[in-house]
């Protein structure tokens, strides 16, 4: 019983991480038809900026309020990077989806390599606040506290995204743009501004995932983002939709499958189990993503 509880909460924690990456990804994908490979780079930037801030930024540290400042710095760095990328290389290629994807592919290779050139390939120990470093006993299982933090943060981001979508004017434009970009443009609304906004939001969420991923894994490495990104892709495809809620459900499912398969079979098989789930979803229910994107994608 306690094992199951532990696996459930850990799976939820991992799912929370996936959600933070995949939500931005699916928004960018839905609105712009861009498979944003640079998303993993934003995650790495967020993680390294948080790590750097906790050691170098005045007022920031590894505990309490200082840690919040560190994370805020990391998120700000990720947001800035995403905004610059959108304005600098995505926008000039407006309407050329394939080139946009290629550019993000280039960035996804160059940015982690640059990070590696500066800080080395070895994993760096991530600062861990006292508050979330122990374990909590729940139904007989000793669960690392940071898992709860991850789940709570992902819940807040989910709520924030839903409120943004339903209560703000920009959220309305973004949601409408995801549905039918041509129609929104025809109504005289500049969708490009919401591209930048969505990219910035996605970058912020990815950077937050980087900071929290540092807590989850205890270390940061230059190519952590790239490997997490692949699972985020799977989440987006399984979610089968560009909706935020679908993304959340798929994240949880993928995180759970991975944890349970890793525990009850050979370690490492969890990753493959996720791919098998993906194949099963594609075989049993075609449509979803394909139905929404057929004909207008690169």
């Amino acid at each position: 019983m306690s094992t199951v509880v532990l696996l459930v909460v850990t799976g939820l924690g991992l799912g929370a991480l996936y959600f933070l990456i995949a939500s931005g990804l699916s928004l960018i994908f839905g609105l712009m038809d861009v498979l944003n490979f640079a998303h993993g780079a934003f995650l790495s930037i967020g993680a390294y900026a948080t790590w750097w801030a906790s050691g170098h930024l005045p007022g920031a540290g590894s505990d309490g309020f200082g840690f919040l400042v560190s994370v805020a710095f990391g998120v700000a760095a990720g947001t800035l990077a995403a905004t610059l990328v959108e304005l600098g290389v995505i926008r000039p290629l407006y309407g050329r989806h394939r080139e946009q994807i290629l550019v993000t592919v280039g960035l996804s290779l160059a940015v982690p390599a640059l990070i590696q050139a500066v800080w080395g390939a070895d994993p760096l120990t991530f600062p861990r606040p006292e508050l979330v470093s122990g374990t909590v006993s729940l139904l007989g299982a000793a669960i690392p506290t940071d898992r709860f933090l991850l789940i709570a943060v992902a819940g807040l981001v989910l709520a924030g995204l839903l409120l943004f979508g339903s209560r703000t004017r920009y959220g309305l434009i973004v949601r409408a743009g995801v549905e039918d970009r041509a129609m929104v443009t025809a109504l005289g609304i500049d969708v490009r501004r919401s591209f930048t906004l969505v990219f910035a939001i996605g970058g912020a969420a990815a950077a937050l995932a980087g900071a929290l991923g540092g807590l989850y894994f205890g270390v940061v490495t230059p190519f952590q983002g790239t490997s997490l990104l692949i699972f985020a892709f799977i989440v987006v495809v399984i979610g089968g939709t560009t909706s935020t809620v679908g993304c959340a459900v798929a994240s949880v499912a993928v995180g759970m499958v991975q944890q349970f398969a890793n525990y009850y079979t050979v370690a490492g098989l969890g990753d493959i189990a996720v791919v098998i789930v993906l194949a099963a979803v594609l075989l049993t229910r075609q449509g979803g993503l394909a139905g929404a994107t057929a004909g207008r994608v690169a």
């Binding site: 498979l35 994807i101 290629l102 592919v105 290779l109 892709f233 490492g268 996720v274 791919v275 994608v297």
Partner: protein, 375 residues
């Protein structure tokens, strides 16, 4: 064939302003001339003792040069097979490395575990690689566009994880597998026989390029062209695109797994580096560098890329590199940084790749000439 019709509108518009004689003169060169020249060049290389000091370390027929050329050619054939998907049908696959790795790893495994001779190992590896492409293609192609990219990437990643995690101690994990010398004919072993590996690589390129060009000229190739231009229109015309896309996926997978076997022989072993997503992305860079969907582009791009990559590695090991300041040296010592930066620059400054370059230069010169005439 594909390319000729495709570029026709682009070239004919400026050509209309030119004297008609020019058009006729270009038409007089038969279609087989360029492939024949390239084939003669490739076949005569090992007999040449020419020394090109800036380009290659030894003479053209020295083992080190031939080995480098063979590697360039293997990647050239592989990039051509990737372009069958990307450039000709417009399928963005991020999992092509899987089929290449399947060919190389399966052949190596069969040689070690069952001690099958090279020919049987190669045959079984290529057939299995093709079957894998058929099955995974059948699943992946249920989605299209960007979702297809994600799904192919996921499958390839599963393969990569499988190889690196090394269940049952078969794949050698991070170390990879060496070629089992007992099951390979002596003609393919040793530095003295590098020339035979070179012939093998030339043979692979001929097969890959031949199959892709030939299929492009058949009715199937025309449907592919239609799918690339507008898939919806093809299905409205009453042609189901799915079997055509699956055929392209399978043929590309078959050519890739054949390339994997050749690569295993040429490099004398296989490492997990060829299973990663980065490797597929490298193929994408090669194809984009040369020119996607063109006849020579993928081959040219792969040869240039592999050669430059090799030279950069040599340069990184030399003293020239140490004199550079750390700010420059550190990023340049990261091959992926160079790869990624090259990619971004390519998209912005070389759309169409190397094969489009002569046309662009000509257009620029003509534009300048016209401006001079006007003033």
């Amino acid at each position: 064939m594909n390319v000729d019709t495709e570029h026709a509108p682009r070239t004919s518009a400026p050509a209309a302003a030119q004297p008609i004689v020019d058009v006729r003169r270009t038409r007089r060169v038969p279609g087989w001339a360029a492939p024949a020249v390239v084939a003669v060049l490739l076949l005569s290389l090992p007999f040449s003792t020419l020394s090109l000091p800036g380009l290659f370390e030894g003479t053209l027929n020295s083992p080190s040069t031939l080995h480098l050329l063979a590697t360039c050619l293997v990647f050239g054939g592989l990039a051509t097979s990737y372009d069958l998907l990307y450039g000709r049908v417009g399928l963005l696959s991020f999992g092509h490395a899987l089929y290449f790795a399947a060919g190389a790893y399966l052949a190596a495994l069969l040689m070690w575990t069952l001690e099958l001779p090279l020919l049987w190992s190669a045959l079984i590896a290529v057939v299995s690689g093709t079957a894998l492409a058929l099955v995974l293609g059948a699943i992946s192609l249920r989605v299209s566009g960007i979702a297809l990219a994600m799904v192919t990437l996921a499958f390839a990643q599963a393969g990569s994880i499988l190889v690196i995690r090394d269940p049952g101690r078969m794949t050698g994990g991070e170390e990879g597998l060496a070629l089992n010398p007992d099951t390979v004919p002596g003609a393919f072993i040793g530095v003295v026989n590098t020339v035979n590996l070179y012939w093998l690589a030339v043979g692979y390129v001929v097969v890959a390029v031949g199959v892709v060009w030939w299929l492009g000229a058949t009715p199937v190739g025309r449907v592919w062209q239609g799918i690339r231009a507008n898939e919806q229109r093809v299905s409205v015309l009453g042609v189901n695109p799915y079997p055509y896309k699956l055929a392209a996926f399978t043929v590309a997978g078959a050519l890739a797994s054949l390339g994997g076997v050749v690569y295993l022989l040429v490099s004398g072993g296989v490492t997990p580096a060829i299973t990663t997503a980065e490797f597929t992305l490298t193929l994408l860079v090669m194809v984009s560098l040369g020119g996607a969907g063109t006849r020579w582009g993928p081959l040219l791009g792969a040869v240039v890329y592999t050669y430059v990559d090799h030279r950069l590695l040599q340069l990184a090991a030399s003293d020239v590199f140490d004199t550079l300041p750390a700010v420059v040296r550190a990023p340049l010592s990261q091959p992926l940084f160079i790869l990624g930066t090259l990619f971004v620059l390519l998209v912005f400054f070389f759309p169409g790749g190397l094969t489009a370059l002569p046309g662009r230069i000509r257009a620029a010169l003509r534009g300048r000439g016209r401006a001079a005439a006007a003033s």
